[in-house]
Symmetry: C2
Subunit: 280 residues, 2 copies
Protein backbone atom coordinates (compact mmCIF):
# COMPACT_ATOMS: atom_id res chain seq x y z
CA UNK A 1 0.00 0.00 0.00
CA UNK A 2 3.06 2.25 -0.17
CA UNK A 3 2.94 2.76 -3.92
CA UNK A 4 2.44 6.30 -5.16
CA UNK A 5 -0.86 6.84 -6.91
CA UNK A 6 -1.65 10.01 -8.82
CA UNK A 7 -5.24 10.78 -9.81
CA UNK A 8 -5.46 13.21 -12.70
CA UNK A 9 -8.80 15.00 -12.77
CA UNK A 10 -10.63 15.27 -9.45
CA UNK A 11 -14.18 15.25 -10.76
CA UNK A 12 -16.92 12.89 -9.67
CA UNK A 13 -15.02 9.81 -10.91
CA UNK A 14 -11.50 10.88 -9.93
CA UNK A 15 -12.76 11.95 -6.52
CA UNK A 16 -14.58 8.64 -6.07
CA UNK A 17 -11.35 6.78 -6.96
CA UNK A 18 -9.33 8.72 -4.40
CA UNK A 19 -11.99 8.06 -1.78
CA UNK A 20 -12.25 4.34 -2.53
CA UNK A 21 -8.45 3.88 -2.64
CA UNK A 22 -8.02 5.67 0.68
CA UNK A 23 -10.71 3.50 2.27
CA UNK A 24 -8.79 0.44 1.11
CA UNK A 25 -5.66 1.67 2.86
CA UNK A 26 -3.58 3.23 0.10
CA UNK A 27 -1.30 5.70 1.86
CA UNK A 28 0.16 7.81 -0.92
CA UNK A 29 -2.50 9.37 -3.11
CA UNK A 30 -1.85 12.61 -4.97
CA UNK A 31 -4.03 14.55 -7.37
CA UNK A 32 -3.65 16.93 -10.26
CA UNK A 33 -6.55 19.19 -11.22
CA UNK A 34 -6.92 22.72 -12.57
CA UNK A 35 -9.51 23.53 -9.94
CA UNK A 36 -7.86 24.64 -6.69
CA UNK A 37 -11.12 24.25 -4.75
CA UNK A 38 -11.40 20.58 -5.68
CA UNK A 39 -7.83 19.98 -4.56
CA UNK A 40 -8.29 21.73 -1.23
CA UNK A 41 -11.56 19.88 -0.63
CA UNK A 42 -9.91 16.52 -1.34
CA UNK A 43 -7.04 17.41 0.98
CA UNK A 44 -9.39 18.41 3.78
CA UNK A 45 -11.31 15.15 3.35
CA UNK A 46 -7.92 13.41 3.55
CA UNK A 47 -8.69 11.38 0.43
CA UNK A 48 -5.46 12.73 -1.09
CA UNK A 49 -2.17 13.59 0.60
CA UNK A 50 -1.61 16.62 -1.56
CA UNK A 51 -3.00 18.19 -4.72
CA UNK A 52 -1.38 20.40 -7.30
CA UNK A 53 -2.59 22.27 -10.39
CA UNK A 54 0.56 21.36 -12.20
CA UNK A 55 1.85 17.90 -13.08
CA UNK A 56 5.59 17.81 -12.72
CA UNK A 57 5.69 17.66 -8.98
CA UNK A 58 3.95 14.27 -8.61
CA UNK A 59 4.41 12.52 -11.94
CA UNK A 60 8.11 11.70 -11.60
CA UNK A 61 7.41 9.56 -8.51
CA UNK A 62 4.10 8.05 -9.65
CA UNK A 63 3.83 4.24 -9.72
CA UNK A 64 0.23 4.37 -10.93
CA UNK A 65 -1.50 7.24 -12.72
CA UNK A 66 -5.30 7.20 -12.98
CA UNK A 67 -6.56 9.53 -15.67
CA UNK A 68 -10.13 10.59 -15.04
CA UNK A 69 -10.42 13.37 -17.56
CA UNK A 70 -12.36 13.89 -20.79
CA UNK A 71 -11.30 11.60 -23.68
CA UNK A 72 -9.54 14.37 -25.60
CA UNK A 73 -7.43 15.27 -22.59
CA UNK A 74 -6.08 11.73 -22.19
CA UNK A 75 -4.07 12.10 -25.39
CA UNK A 76 -3.02 15.61 -24.48
CA UNK A 77 -1.84 14.47 -21.06
CA UNK A 78 0.42 11.78 -22.52
CA UNK A 79 1.86 14.12 -25.12
CA UNK A 80 2.53 16.91 -22.65
CA UNK A 81 4.18 14.73 -20.03
CA UNK A 82 5.96 11.98 -21.96
CA UNK A 83 9.38 12.84 -20.53
CA UNK A 84 8.26 13.00 -16.93
CA UNK A 85 7.09 9.47 -16.20
CA UNK A 86 9.00 7.21 -13.83
CA UNK A 87 10.34 3.95 -15.33
CA UNK A 88 7.76 1.18 -14.92
CA UNK A 89 4.88 3.55 -14.25
CA UNK A 90 1.45 2.09 -15.00
CA UNK A 91 -1.09 4.48 -16.45
CA UNK A 92 -4.79 3.72 -16.66
CA UNK A 93 -7.81 5.74 -17.72
CA UNK A 94 -11.55 5.83 -17.08
CA UNK A 95 -12.67 6.81 -20.55
CA UNK A 96 -16.01 5.66 -21.90
CA UNK A 97 -14.76 5.20 -25.48
CA UNK A 98 -11.59 3.46 -26.55
CA UNK A 99 -11.29 3.26 -30.34
CA UNK A 100 -10.55 6.94 -30.87
CA UNK A 101 -7.87 7.14 -28.18
CA UNK A 102 -6.11 3.76 -28.03
CA UNK A 103 -4.32 3.90 -31.40
CA UNK A 104 -3.25 7.51 -30.98
CA UNK A 105 -1.90 6.91 -27.51
CA UNK A 106 -0.08 3.73 -28.50
CA UNK A 107 1.85 5.81 -31.04
CA UNK A 108 2.94 8.49 -28.61
CA UNK A 109 3.49 6.36 -25.51
CA UNK A 110 7.08 6.34 -24.17
CA UNK A 111 8.69 2.91 -23.77
CA UNK A 112 9.23 3.14 -20.03
CA UNK A 113 5.51 3.13 -19.12
CA UNK A 114 2.60 0.69 -19.56
CA UNK A 115 -0.87 2.05 -20.37
CA UNK A 116 -3.69 -0.29 -19.31
CA UNK A 117 -6.90 1.07 -20.77
CA UNK A 118 -9.78 0.73 -18.33
CA UNK A 119 -13.43 1.68 -18.16
CA UNK A 120 -15.19 1.67 -14.80
CA UNK A 121 -18.86 1.27 -15.78
CA UNK A 122 -20.07 3.47 -12.99
CA UNK A 123 -20.91 7.11 -12.82
CA UNK A 124 -23.29 9.67 -11.55
CA UNK A 125 -25.37 12.18 -13.44
CA UNK A 126 -23.88 15.00 -11.36
CA UNK A 127 -20.37 16.29 -11.96
CA UNK A 128 -17.64 17.49 -9.60
CA UNK A 129 -15.94 16.21 -6.48
CA UNK A 130 -18.93 17.18 -4.31
CA UNK A 131 -20.76 14.18 -5.74
CA UNK A 132 -17.86 11.75 -5.40
CA UNK A 133 -18.56 8.61 -3.38
CA UNK A 134 -16.78 5.30 -3.09
CA UNK A 135 -20.21 3.65 -3.13
CA UNK A 136 -20.57 4.23 -6.85
CA UNK A 137 -18.15 1.39 -7.69
CA UNK A 138 -19.78 -1.25 -5.49
CA UNK A 139 -21.04 -4.16 -7.55
CA UNK A 140 -20.30 -2.41 -10.86
CA UNK A 141 -18.66 -3.75 -14.02
CA UNK A 142 -15.09 -2.89 -14.99
CA UNK A 143 -13.69 -3.33 -18.48
CA UNK A 144 -10.08 -3.53 -19.56
CA UNK A 145 -9.12 -3.29 -23.25
CA UNK A 146 -5.56 -4.68 -23.37
CA UNK A 147 -3.09 -3.63 -26.07
CA UNK A 148 -0.24 -5.79 -27.39
CA UNK A 149 2.44 -3.94 -25.45
CA UNK A 150 0.75 -4.46 -22.05
CA UNK A 151 2.61 -6.54 -19.50
CA UNK A 152 0.40 -9.17 -17.88
CA UNK A 153 1.44 -8.05 -14.42
CA UNK A 154 0.32 -4.46 -15.17
CA UNK A 155 -3.10 -5.67 -16.23
CA UNK A 156 -3.31 -7.89 -13.15
CA UNK A 157 -2.51 -4.95 -10.89
CA UNK A 158 -5.23 -2.78 -12.43
CA UNK A 159 -7.67 -5.71 -12.10
CA UNK A 160 -6.70 -6.22 -8.48
CA UNK A 161 -7.27 -2.56 -7.64
CA UNK A 162 -10.66 -2.60 -9.42
CA UNK A 163 -11.81 -5.55 -7.35
CA UNK A 164 -10.39 -4.02 -4.16
CA UNK A 165 -12.39 -0.83 -4.53
CA UNK A 166 -15.64 -2.72 -5.06
CA UNK A 167 -16.09 -3.65 -8.71
CA UNK A 168 -17.81 -7.01 -9.03
CA UNK A 169 -16.65 -8.15 -12.43
CA UNK A 170 -13.60 -7.31 -14.56
CA UNK A 171 -13.67 -8.27 -18.24
CA UNK A 172 -10.97 -8.04 -20.88
CA UNK A 173 -12.16 -7.23 -24.39
CA UNK A 174 -10.86 -5.48 -27.49
CA UNK A 175 -11.27 -1.70 -27.85
CA UNK A 176 -13.50 -2.39 -30.88
CA UNK A 177 -15.87 -4.70 -28.99
CA UNK A 178 -15.83 -2.31 -26.03
CA UNK A 179 -17.04 0.55 -28.18
CA UNK A 180 -19.72 -1.58 -29.82
CA UNK A 181 -21.02 -2.70 -26.42
CA UNK A 182 -21.01 0.71 -24.72
CA UNK A 183 -22.61 2.25 -27.81
CA UNK A 184 -25.52 -0.03 -26.94
CA UNK A 185 -25.43 -0.27 -23.13
CA UNK A 186 -24.44 3.27 -22.24
CA UNK A 187 -24.67 5.79 -25.06
CA UNK A 188 -27.97 4.54 -26.49
CA UNK A 189 -29.70 4.76 -23.06
CA UNK A 190 -28.42 8.33 -22.71
CA UNK A 191 -29.72 9.25 -26.18
CA UNK A 192 -33.08 7.68 -25.28
CA UNK A 193 -33.35 9.53 -21.97
CA UNK A 194 -32.59 12.86 -23.63
CA UNK A 195 -35.07 12.23 -26.47
CA UNK A 196 -37.76 11.09 -24.01
CA UNK A 197 -37.70 14.16 -21.79
CA UNK A 198 -37.20 16.52 -24.72
CA UNK A 199 -40.33 15.09 -26.38
CA UNK A 200 -42.48 16.27 -23.48
CA UNK A 201 -44.83 19.17 -24.18
CA UNK A 202 -44.17 22.27 -22.12
CA UNK A 203 -46.30 23.64 -19.27
CA UNK A 204 -48.41 20.63 -18.45
CA UNK A 205 -47.03 19.94 -14.96
CA UNK A 206 -45.63 16.57 -16.03
CA UNK A 207 -44.03 16.02 -12.62
CA UNK A 208 -47.48 15.46 -11.08
CA UNK A 209 -48.25 12.62 -13.47
CA UNK A 210 -45.15 10.47 -13.33
CA UNK A 211 -44.33 7.19 -11.65
CA UNK A 212 -41.00 5.44 -11.17
CA UNK A 213 -40.81 4.39 -14.83
CA UNK A 214 -40.49 7.97 -16.08
CA UNK A 215 -38.21 8.87 -13.17
CA UNK A 216 -35.88 5.97 -13.94
CA UNK A 217 -35.83 6.49 -17.68
CA UNK A 218 -35.03 10.20 -17.46
CA UNK A 219 -32.56 10.25 -14.54
CA UNK A 220 -29.59 10.30 -16.92
CA UNK A 221 -31.20 13.03 -19.07
CA UNK A 222 -29.50 15.35 -16.58
CA UNK A 223 -26.27 14.97 -18.45
CA UNK A 224 -22.74 16.42 -18.59
CA UNK A 225 -23.18 17.96 -22.04
CA UNK A 226 -19.50 18.43 -22.97
CA UNK A 227 -18.47 14.93 -21.91
CA UNK A 228 -21.35 13.13 -23.61
CA UNK A 229 -20.93 15.15 -26.76
CA UNK A 230 -17.34 13.81 -26.94
CA UNK A 231 -18.50 10.26 -26.19
CA UNK A 232 -21.32 10.34 -28.78
CA UNK A 233 -19.16 11.77 -31.55
CA UNK A 234 -16.17 9.63 -30.64
CA UNK A 235 -18.29 6.50 -31.07
CA UNK A 236 -20.45 7.74 -33.91
CA UNK A 237 -20.82 4.60 -36.03
CA UNK A 238 -21.54 2.23 -33.15
CA UNK A 239 -24.03 4.59 -31.58
CA UNK A 240 -25.89 5.18 -34.86
CA UNK A 241 -26.08 1.42 -35.38
CA UNK A 242 -27.46 0.95 -31.87
CA UNK A 243 -30.06 3.68 -32.39
CA UNK A 244 -31.12 2.07 -35.66
CA UNK A 245 -31.56 -1.36 -34.08
CA UNK A 246 -33.55 0.23 -31.27
CA UNK A 247 -35.78 2.00 -33.77
CA UNK A 248 -36.46 -1.27 -35.59
CA UNK A 249 -37.78 -2.78 -32.34
CA UNK A 250 -39.77 0.34 -31.54
CA UNK A 251 -41.40 0.15 -34.96
CA UNK A 252 -42.39 -3.47 -34.35
CA UNK A 253 -44.17 -2.35 -31.19
CA UNK A 254 -45.74 0.59 -32.98
CA UNK A 255 -47.06 -1.59 -35.77
CA UNK A 256 -48.48 -4.09 -33.32
CA UNK A 257 -50.34 -1.28 -31.54
CA UNK A 258 -51.61 0.17 -34.83
CA UNK A 259 -52.90 -3.25 -35.95
CA UNK A 260 -54.11 -4.08 -32.43
CA UNK A 261 -52.12 -7.28 -32.71
CA UNK A 262 -52.29 -8.63 -29.15
CA UNK A 263 -50.32 -11.75 -29.97
CA UNK A 264 -47.32 -9.84 -31.26
CA UNK A 265 -47.34 -7.40 -28.35
CA UNK A 266 -47.45 -10.26 -25.86
CA UNK A 267 -44.58 -11.93 -27.70
CA UNK A 268 -42.42 -8.75 -27.48
CA UNK A 269 -43.27 -8.35 -23.79
CA UNK A 270 -42.44 -11.96 -23.00
CA UNK A 271 -39.14 -11.66 -24.86
CA UNK A 272 -38.17 -8.50 -22.98
CA UNK A 273 -39.19 -10.02 -19.63
CA UNK A 274 -37.05 -13.11 -20.15
CA UNK A 275 -34.09 -11.00 -21.25
CA UNK A 276 -34.38 -8.69 -18.24
CA UNK A 277 -34.62 -11.62 -15.83
CA UNK A 278 -31.47 -13.13 -17.32
CA UNK A 279 -29.53 -9.88 -17.44
CA UNK A 280 -27.79 -10.10 -14.07
CA UNK B 1 -61.52 3.60 11.01
CA UNK B 2 -64.57 1.34 11.38
CA UNK B 3 -65.69 1.61 7.79
CA UNK B 4 -65.77 -1.60 5.76
CA UNK B 5 -63.25 -1.69 2.96
CA UNK B 6 -63.27 -4.40 0.30
CA UNK B 7 -60.24 -4.84 -1.93
CA UNK B 8 -61.07 -6.64 -5.17
CA UNK B 9 -58.00 -8.28 -6.70
CA UNK B 10 -55.18 -9.12 -4.29
CA UNK B 11 -52.26 -8.74 -6.67
CA UNK B 12 -49.24 -6.57 -6.07
CA UNK B 13 -51.33 -3.37 -6.02
CA UNK B 14 -54.37 -4.72 -4.16
CA UNK B 15 -52.09 -6.40 -1.64
CA UNK B 16 -50.11 -3.20 -1.16
CA UNK B 17 -53.36 -1.30 -0.56
CA UNK B 18 -54.50 -3.77 2.10
CA UNK B 19 -51.10 -3.57 3.76
CA UNK B 20 -50.97 0.23 3.72
CA UNK B 21 -54.56 0.59 4.96
CA UNK B 22 -53.95 -1.81 7.82
CA UNK B 23 -50.81 0.07 8.83
CA UNK B 24 -52.89 3.24 9.00
CA UNK B 25 -55.30 1.59 11.42
CA UNK B 26 -58.23 0.54 9.25
CA UNK B 27 -59.90 -2.30 11.14
CA UNK B 28 -62.26 -3.85 8.63
CA UNK B 29 -60.54 -4.87 5.43
CA UNK B 30 -61.90 -7.69 3.27
CA UNK B 31 -60.70 -9.04 -0.03
CA UNK B 32 -62.09 -10.81 -3.07
CA UNK B 33 -59.76 -12.75 -5.35
CA UNK B 34 -60.00 -15.91 -7.42
CA UNK B 35 -56.71 -17.14 -6.01
CA UNK B 36 -57.22 -18.94 -2.68
CA UNK B 37 -53.51 -18.85 -1.90
CA UNK B 38 -53.41 -15.05 -2.13
CA UNK B 39 -56.39 -14.80 0.20
CA UNK B 40 -54.92 -17.17 2.78
CA UNK B 41 -51.57 -15.39 2.62
CA UNK B 42 -53.24 -11.99 3.18
CA UNK B 43 -55.21 -13.41 6.10
CA UNK B 44 -52.11 -14.88 7.70
CA UNK B 45 -50.31 -11.53 7.31
CA UNK B 46 -53.38 -9.97 8.97
CA UNK B 47 -53.61 -7.35 6.25
CA UNK B 48 -57.21 -8.46 5.63
CA UNK B 49 -59.79 -9.74 8.12
CA UNK B 50 -61.14 -12.29 5.69
CA UNK B 51 -60.94 -13.17 2.02
CA UNK B 52 -63.39 -14.87 -0.29
CA UNK B 53 -63.33 -16.05 -3.89
CA UNK B 54 -66.87 -14.88 -4.36
CA UNK B 55 -68.25 -11.35 -4.06
CA UNK B 56 -71.68 -11.47 -2.46
CA UNK B 57 -70.52 -12.05 1.07
CA UNK B 58 -68.64 -8.76 1.50
CA UNK B 59 -70.11 -6.41 -1.06
CA UNK B 60 -73.44 -5.78 0.63
CA UNK B 61 -71.68 -4.28 3.67
CA UNK B 62 -68.88 -2.47 1.84
CA UNK B 63 -68.50 1.28 2.42
CA UNK B 64 -65.52 1.49 0.11
CA UNK B 65 -64.58 -0.90 -2.69
CA UNK B 66 -61.10 -0.70 -4.18
CA UNK B 67 -60.87 -2.41 -7.57
CA UNK B 68 -57.32 -3.44 -8.34
CA UNK B 69 -58.00 -5.66 -11.34
CA UNK B 70 -57.24 -5.46 -15.05
CA UNK B 71 -59.11 -2.69 -16.92
CA UNK B 72 -61.51 -5.09 -18.68
CA UNK B 73 -62.53 -6.62 -15.35
CA UNK B 74 -63.56 -3.28 -13.85
CA UNK B 75 -66.52 -3.06 -16.21
CA UNK B 76 -67.35 -6.73 -15.71
CA UNK B 77 -67.30 -6.33 -11.94
CA UNK B 78 -69.79 -3.46 -12.00
CA UNK B 79 -72.10 -5.28 -14.40
CA UNK B 80 -72.02 -8.52 -12.44
CA UNK B 81 -72.62 -6.96 -9.06
CA UNK B 82 -74.86 -3.96 -9.68
CA UNK B 83 -77.63 -5.18 -7.43
CA UNK B 84 -75.39 -6.01 -4.51
CA UNK B 85 -73.92 -2.65 -3.51
CA UNK B 86 -74.86 -0.96 -0.25
CA UNK B 87 -76.48 2.48 -0.54
CA UNK B 88 -73.81 5.18 -0.48
CA UNK B 89 -70.98 2.82 -1.27
CA UNK B 90 -67.93 4.51 -2.80
CA UNK B 91 -66.10 2.53 -5.46
CA UNK B 92 -62.65 3.41 -6.72
CA UNK B 93 -60.23 1.75 -9.10
CA UNK B 94 -56.50 1.66 -9.77
CA UNK B 95 -56.64 1.41 -13.53
CA UNK B 96 -53.87 2.93 -15.65
CA UNK B 97 -56.21 4.04 -18.45
CA UNK B 98 -59.49 5.88 -18.04
CA UNK B 99 -61.03 6.80 -21.40
CA UNK B 100 -62.03 3.29 -22.37
CA UNK B 101 -63.69 2.47 -19.04
CA UNK B 102 -65.16 5.68 -17.64
CA UNK B 103 -67.97 6.17 -20.19
CA UNK B 104 -68.97 2.50 -20.17
CA UNK B 105 -69.08 2.37 -16.41
CA UNK B 106 -71.01 5.63 -16.11
CA UNK B 107 -73.74 4.02 -18.21
CA UNK B 108 -74.06 0.88 -16.13
CA UNK B 109 -73.48 2.35 -12.69
CA UNK B 110 -76.41 1.98 -10.25
CA UNK B 111 -77.69 5.23 -8.67
CA UNK B 112 -76.97 4.23 -5.10
CA UNK B 113 -73.16 4.17 -5.48
CA UNK B 114 -70.47 6.74 -6.35
CA UNK B 115 -67.51 5.68 -8.51
CA UNK B 116 -64.42 7.85 -8.01
CA UNK B 117 -61.93 6.90 -10.70
CA UNK B 118 -58.40 6.83 -9.32
CA UNK B 119 -54.92 5.99 -10.56
CA UNK B 120 -52.16 5.40 -8.03
CA UNK B 121 -49.00 6.07 -10.08
CA UNK B 122 -47.03 3.41 -8.32
CA UNK B 123 -46.31 -0.16 -9.16
CA UNK B 124 -43.74 -2.85 -9.29
CA UNK B 125 -42.50 -4.86 -12.22
CA UNK B 126 -43.32 -8.09 -10.38
CA UNK B 127 -46.86 -9.35 -10.04
CA UNK B 128 -48.70 -11.08 -7.21
CA UNK B 129 -49.24 -10.49 -3.51
CA UNK B 130 -45.74 -11.79 -2.69
CA UNK B 131 -44.35 -8.51 -4.00
CA UNK B 132 -46.91 -6.29 -2.25
CA UNK B 133 -45.47 -3.59 0.00
CA UNK B 134 -46.92 -0.45 1.52
CA UNK B 135 -43.64 1.30 0.68
CA UNK B 136 -44.57 1.47 -3.00
CA UNK B 137 -47.02 4.33 -2.41
CA UNK B 138 -44.67 6.53 -0.40
CA UNK B 139 -44.06 9.84 -2.14
CA UNK B 140 -45.89 8.76 -5.29
CA UNK B 141 -48.42 10.66 -7.39
CA UNK B 142 -52.14 9.89 -7.28
CA UNK B 143 -54.60 10.98 -9.95
CA UNK B 144 -58.36 11.27 -9.72
CA UNK B 145 -60.49 11.74 -12.83
CA UNK B 146 -63.84 13.00 -11.50
CA UNK B 147 -67.11 12.44 -13.37
CA UNK B 148 -70.13 14.73 -13.22
CA UNK B 149 -72.10 12.45 -10.92
CA UNK B 150 -69.36 12.33 -8.24
CA UNK B 151 -70.21 13.81 -4.85
CA UNK B 152 -67.47 16.13 -3.58
CA UNK B 153 -67.35 14.30 -0.27
CA UNK B 154 -66.69 10.97 -2.03
CA UNK B 155 -63.75 12.49 -3.91
CA UNK B 156 -62.47 14.07 -0.69
CA UNK B 157 -62.59 10.69 1.06
CA UNK B 158 -60.60 8.96 -1.67
CA UNK B 159 -58.09 11.84 -1.61
CA UNK B 160 -57.79 11.59 2.16
CA UNK B 161 -57.10 7.86 2.02
CA UNK B 162 -54.50 8.35 -0.74
CA UNK B 163 -52.61 10.89 1.38
CA UNK B 164 -52.96 8.70 4.49
CA UNK B 165 -51.32 5.72 2.83
CA UNK B 166 -48.37 7.77 1.67
CA UNK B 167 -49.09 9.41 -1.69
CA UNK B 168 -47.47 12.84 -1.87
CA UNK B 169 -49.65 14.58 -4.38
CA UNK B 170 -53.24 14.07 -5.51
CA UNK B 171 -54.35 15.76 -8.73
CA UNK B 172 -57.79 15.97 -10.32
CA UNK B 173 -57.86 15.92 -14.10
CA UNK B 174 -60.18 14.78 -16.89
CA UNK B 175 -60.05 11.16 -18.11
CA UNK B 176 -58.91 12.50 -21.51
CA UNK B 177 -56.00 14.47 -20.10
CA UNK B 178 -55.14 11.53 -17.84
CA UNK B 179 -54.80 9.20 -20.79
CA UNK B 180 -52.75 11.69 -22.75
CA UNK B 181 -50.35 12.15 -19.83
CA UNK B 182 -49.92 8.47 -18.94
CA UNK B 183 -49.48 7.63 -22.61
CA UNK B 184 -46.39 9.78 -22.34
CA UNK B 185 -45.20 9.26 -18.74
CA UNK B 186 -45.96 5.58 -18.30
CA UNK B 187 -46.75 3.68 -21.48
CA UNK B 188 -44.07 5.29 -23.63
CA UNK B 189 -41.31 4.45 -21.09
CA UNK B 190 -42.53 0.85 -21.05
CA UNK B 191 -42.48 0.67 -24.85
CA UNK B 192 -38.95 2.16 -24.83
CA UNK B 193 -37.67 -0.30 -22.22
CA UNK B 194 -39.04 -3.26 -24.18
CA UNK B 195 -37.62 -2.00 -27.48
CA UNK B 196 -34.25 -1.28 -25.89
CA UNK B 197 -33.67 -4.71 -24.42
CA UNK B 198 -35.18 -6.47 -27.43
CA UNK B 199 -32.74 -4.65 -29.71
CA UNK B 200 -29.78 -6.30 -27.98
CA UNK B 201 -27.92 -8.92 -29.97
CA UNK B 202 -27.95 -12.38 -28.48
CA UNK B 203 -25.05 -14.19 -26.83
CA UNK B 204 -22.68 -11.35 -26.18
CA UNK B 205 -22.80 -11.41 -22.36
CA UNK B 206 -24.36 -7.95 -22.23
CA UNK B 207 -24.73 -8.13 -18.43
CA UNK B 208 -20.94 -7.77 -18.06
CA UNK B 209 -20.90 -4.50 -19.94
CA UNK B 210 -23.71 -2.52 -18.37
CA UNK B 211 -23.84 0.32 -15.91
CA UNK B 212 -26.75 1.85 -14.01
CA UNK B 213 -28.08 3.58 -17.11
CA UNK B 214 -28.94 0.31 -18.88
CA UNK B 215 -30.16 -1.22 -15.60
CA UNK B 216 -32.50 1.69 -14.96
CA UNK B 217 -33.80 1.92 -18.50
CA UNK B 218 -34.63 -1.78 -18.77
CA UNK B 219 -35.97 -2.49 -15.26
CA UNK B 220 -39.57 -2.17 -16.48
CA UNK B 221 -38.87 -4.37 -19.53
CA UNK B 222 -39.72 -7.19 -17.13
CA UNK B 223 -43.39 -6.57 -17.72
CA UNK B 224 -46.80 -8.06 -16.96
CA UNK B 225 -47.58 -8.89 -20.58
CA UNK B 226 -51.38 -9.28 -20.33
CA UNK B 227 -51.87 -6.11 -18.32
CA UNK B 228 -49.66 -3.91 -20.47
CA UNK B 229 -51.19 -5.27 -23.64
CA UNK B 230 -54.57 -4.04 -22.38
CA UNK B 231 -53.10 -0.68 -21.36
CA UNK B 232 -51.30 -0.14 -24.69
CA UNK B 233 -54.30 -1.07 -26.83
CA UNK B 234 -56.75 0.75 -24.57
CA UNK B 235 -54.79 3.97 -25.05
CA UNK B 236 -53.73 3.39 -28.62
CA UNK B 237 -53.98 6.91 -30.09
CA UNK B 238 -52.27 8.67 -27.20
CA UNK B 239 -49.47 6.13 -27.04
CA UNK B 240 -48.82 6.27 -30.79
CA UNK B 241 -48.71 10.05 -30.59
CA UNK B 242 -46.21 9.86 -27.71
CA UNK B 243 -44.02 7.37 -29.60
CA UNK B 244 -44.05 9.64 -32.65
CA UNK B 245 -43.02 12.70 -30.67
CA UNK B 246 -40.25 10.67 -29.05
CA UNK B 247 -39.04 9.48 -32.45
CA UNK B 248 -38.89 13.07 -33.70
CA UNK B 249 -36.51 13.96 -30.85
CA UNK B 250 -34.47 10.80 -31.40
CA UNK B 251 -34.06 11.73 -35.04
CA UNK B 252 -32.82 15.19 -34.09
CA UNK B 253 -30.12 13.53 -31.98
CA UNK B 254 -29.33 11.06 -34.75
CA UNK B 255 -28.95 13.80 -37.32
CA UNK B 256 -26.70 15.82 -35.03
CA UNK B 257 -24.46 12.77 -34.58
CA UNK B 258 -24.39 12.04 -38.31
CA UNK B 259 -23.43 15.64 -39.09
CA UNK B 260 -21.11 15.80 -36.08
CA UNK B 261 -22.96 18.92 -35.04
CA UNK B 262 -21.59 19.56 -31.54
CA UNK B 263 -23.60 22.71 -31.04
CA UNK B 264 -26.92 20.98 -31.61
CA UNK B 265 -26.02 18.02 -29.42
CA UNK B 266 -24.99 20.35 -26.58
CA UNK B 267 -28.24 22.24 -27.02
CA UNK B 268 -30.32 19.01 -26.71
CA UNK B 269 -28.32 17.92 -23.67
CA UNK B 270 -28.72 21.27 -21.96
CA UNK B 271 -32.45 21.23 -22.65
CA UNK B 272 -32.85 17.73 -21.21
CA UNK B 273 -30.73 18.59 -18.16
CA UNK B 274 -32.81 21.65 -17.33
CA UNK B 275 -36.04 19.70 -17.77
CA UNK B 276 -34.85 16.86 -15.55
CA UNK B 277 -33.71 19.26 -12.82
CA UNK B 278 -37.13 20.93 -12.86
CA UNK B 279 -39.11 17.69 -12.95
CA UNK B 280 -39.63 17.16 -9.24
Amino acid sequence: MDINIVVVGLGVIGGSYAMALREKGYKNIYAIDLNEDSLRKAESLNIINKGCTEGKKFLKDADIIILSVYPELVKEFINNNKNLFKDGCIITDTTGIKGVIVDDIKKSLPDNVDFVFGHPMAGREKKGIDFATSEVFKGANYIITPIDTNKEKSIKLIEKIALEIGFKKVKRITPQFHDKMVGFTSQLPHAIAVALINSDEEDRDTGSFIGDSYRDLTRIANINAELWCELFLGNKENLLEAINSFEVEMNLIKNAIECEDREKLIRYFNKSSIRREKLE
